[in-house]
Symmetry: C2
Subunit: 228 residues, 2 copies
DNA sequence: AGATGTGAATAGTTTCACAGCA
DNA sequence: TGCTGTGAAACTATTCACATCT
């Protein structure tokens, strides 16, 4: 992941720390759930519990956006939902290109969460002749060699790479050449990109290894207790 | 994700910060690649470049494990690989249970990265009668109602939840009841777990929303430049 | 000479505790 | 009164710069 600063000045001149941006999306989901339940207002305590954070952190996070609560009362669910969606840039519609239609790519193409809130998958790509031309999630899989042209014609603003590791850098370079500056990478490689391009990485085996570390620590603690 | 402390005392009494643990897995992958290329030694500069971090950070991270480099020379690739694998607990074999064999679960079951380095998928579960009994990635999908019994018989130490959001908490509770203390959650919900249970969360739509935020910021910056 | 290992400085994040306002 | 908003304090992480060792 590329990160040169740990906070970002957004549209309105607001400065929002990175750690906060990551949690805003979580708050947004919790707010949507409250809204669906018919709740009109909520408190920092309730919303924080739903998001799995401490209430003080929630209030601090929201304070970076401005003043949207009412002291003694709480937050208006609809107002806060709209404000967070706006700050996250979800009021602008964004076209996503998904490259690599193997098992994972297939799952991502079908994943409902992708289609919600301001995103839509505009095109699917693969390099394998056997996949090109097939229909997945209602879209025809295109030849990855057409990536540049389609990115321009469909105004793709985010690229999602779900290719094998050895193809990822080539795809990334093609995306960057076509002007894409936001990439979500599922391939287990560190992508090299010019400055100004944001890469976020999701790596399943790394998540497992982190769990393994903690699991081992817990086992060691249990042994020590048994001995002592 | 549950985190009560931001660093963890491991097996040897070493204290390793959380941020470092997450990067050790990245270094391990870079080291494996160097090893496959036949490199016997490397430097903090080379390894840091391969891992996408700054060399000082790499050296600081490795310093938490002990002294494994040689001043003026660098690091022995094989020695450092083994040491990181040991600290991450990858020398112990861990059984993983995967619950929810929809598109994503199917992709995860087939994902090679899951099977490497100390992990193996011991069992697959689903709640849908149409899926129970089918074979996926060489394993028969079992009824999620048998989860508790199988976790015990197969000595499952990590649970991976790839169910729809509304099923996730129930599955989580069943895992915890059966004694599982490490969970990787792909469902878009915040799981409630007792203390002592680690949950890590992978959320695709949150990653997209973070990219959206930065994309918007870049667009705003470009507009300001055009005006100014 | 050359690269590691690390104390010190800097930067970023979380939590506390309470002032301030409805 | 009750809950938000926020300075200040505490904690964590990153980076620098150089002493240290081969």
């Amino acid at each position: 992941m590329v990160r040169r600063r740990s906070s970002s000045r957004c549209d309105d001149g607001l400065v929002v720390p990175d750690a906060t941006v990551g949690r805003l999306a979580v708050y947004l989901r919790a707010l949507s759930a409250l809204g669906e339940q018919g709740r009109a207002t909520t408190s920092s305590e309730e919303l924080a519990a739903a998001a799995g954070v401490n209430p003080a952190k929630l209030r601090k996070d929201l304070s970076y956006l401005g003043t949207y609560g009412t002291r003694g009362v709480g937050y208006d669910v609809a107002v806060l939902t709209d404000e967070i969606a706006r700050v996250l840039g979800l009021t602008t519609h964004r076209a996503v290109a998904l490259i690599g239609i193997g098992n994972l790519g297939h799952a991502l193409a079908d994943y409902a969460g992708f289609a919600t809130r301001g995103f839509h998958i505009a095109a699917l790509f693969d390099a394998a002749p056997v996949r090109i031309g097939t229909t997945v999630a209602g879209l025809v899989v295109r030849d990855v060699r057409d990536l540049g042209a389609v990115v321009l014609s469909e105004r793709v603003s985010i690229g999602v790479i779900a290719t094998p590791a050895d193809a990822a850098q080539g795809v990334c370079d093609a995306l960057v050449s076509a002007g894409v500056t936001s990439i979500l990478n599922f391939a287990p490689v560190v992508l090299a990109v010019p400055s100004g391009v944001d890469v976020r990485k999701v790596d399943l085996s790394i998540e497992l290894q982190i769990l393994s570390f903690h699991e081992q620590r817990k086992a060691a603690g249990a042994s020590l207790e048994a001995i002592g």
